[in-house]
């Protein structure tokens, strides 16, 4: 769902760049205050996994593919603010090294596919897992958070395209949501697999209260 250069007009990409830069600054402050030493290599591994998993486009209906985003998963495993930094690192490398997503759209792409999943996804996950409780709650919370993060990313992307005048919102929004409905299921499946794996090998990571 990487937006290339040209899709967004100046006011939209500049505005999104400011919002994203502000969020990264805030995340940096939060992480600075609380980051535990154990978390640092985890951030690296999470970033590596997100990048690799995003390369694997999986086919969905009608000659379309989707790929993992990972914001919700990163926030569940690391905490929302360190996850924002990890997701940003991923999109920066994708943009600068691989031309995936435009440089002008970098702020929007980090926001849509990273920040939304990290913050909204984490909130949804926390809410559901607290209500349901237990490992089942963690997995269901993770699945719903992952699916919602993709739908919210598609919504944000559509709104940005609409405001830019690239395509009318009322046309692009249903099209984007329709295809991402299915892609979100892939996101949920990968997120659940990853959470169950971590629960098996290192459950302390998921239950760590010192997450930032």
């Amino acid at each position: 769902m990487h937006i290339p250069d040209g899709f967004l007009d100046t006011k939209v990409w500049a505005g999104m760049s400011v919002v994203t830069a502000g969020t990264i600054c805030y995340a940096t402050k939060k992480v600075n205050q609380k980051l535990g030493e154990r978390q640092i290599p985890l951030m690296g591994v999470m970033g590596a996994f997100i990048f690799a998993a995003q390369m694997i486009n999986f086919p969905v209906a009608g000659g379309t593919s989707g790929h993992f985003l990972g914001g919700a998963l990163a926030a569940i495993l690391l905490g929302p603010w360190s996850a924002v930094l990890v997701m940003s690192a991923n999109f920066i490398v994708q943009c600068l090294l691989f031309q995936d997503g435009g440089l002008t759209a970098l702020g929007a792409n980090i926001f849509n596919m990273g920040i939304i999943g990290c913050l909204a996804g984490y909130g949804i996950y926390k809410g559901i897992s607290n209500i349901l409780g237990g490992n089942k709650g963690l997995l269901i919370g993770g699945a719903v958070a992952a699916w919602c993060s993709v739908m919210l990313a598609a919504t944000a992307t559509s709104i940005e395209l609409g405001i830019s005048g690239t395509v009318p919102l009322k046309i692009v929004l249903p099209a984007m949501l329709g295809v991402h409905l299915l892609i979100g299921l892939g996101e949920a499946a990968i997120t659940v697999m990853a959470i169950s794996y971590v629960l098996k090998v290192r459950s302390d990571i998921i239950n760590d209260v010192a997450k930032v």
Partner: protein, 99 residues
Amino acid sequence: MKKEILIGLLIALAIGVFLSPFASKSPDGLDKTAEDLKFSSVSEGKEIVHSLIPDYAMPGVKNESLATSAAGLVGTLAVFGLAYGAGKVMQRKKQKQSL
């Protein structure tokens, strides 16, 4: 802890190197929507930067799968380094603040 980090990184590298050539080549959700709604041409020729490894294919590697695998290797390590480095910088700042 060290062992688990290594295992985690190896899993990521395995996905980025060995699984990446099998990724679907179909357009993703946004690209397909742009094609269907006929606005994909809006971005043509608008790239601001020309990246070293465009489209996840290592330039100069003729075999398509190998080119993808090489890109996956470089990218996975690059994001690992950048995210790890960001954490390291934060840690150092935190120590300074607590002095």
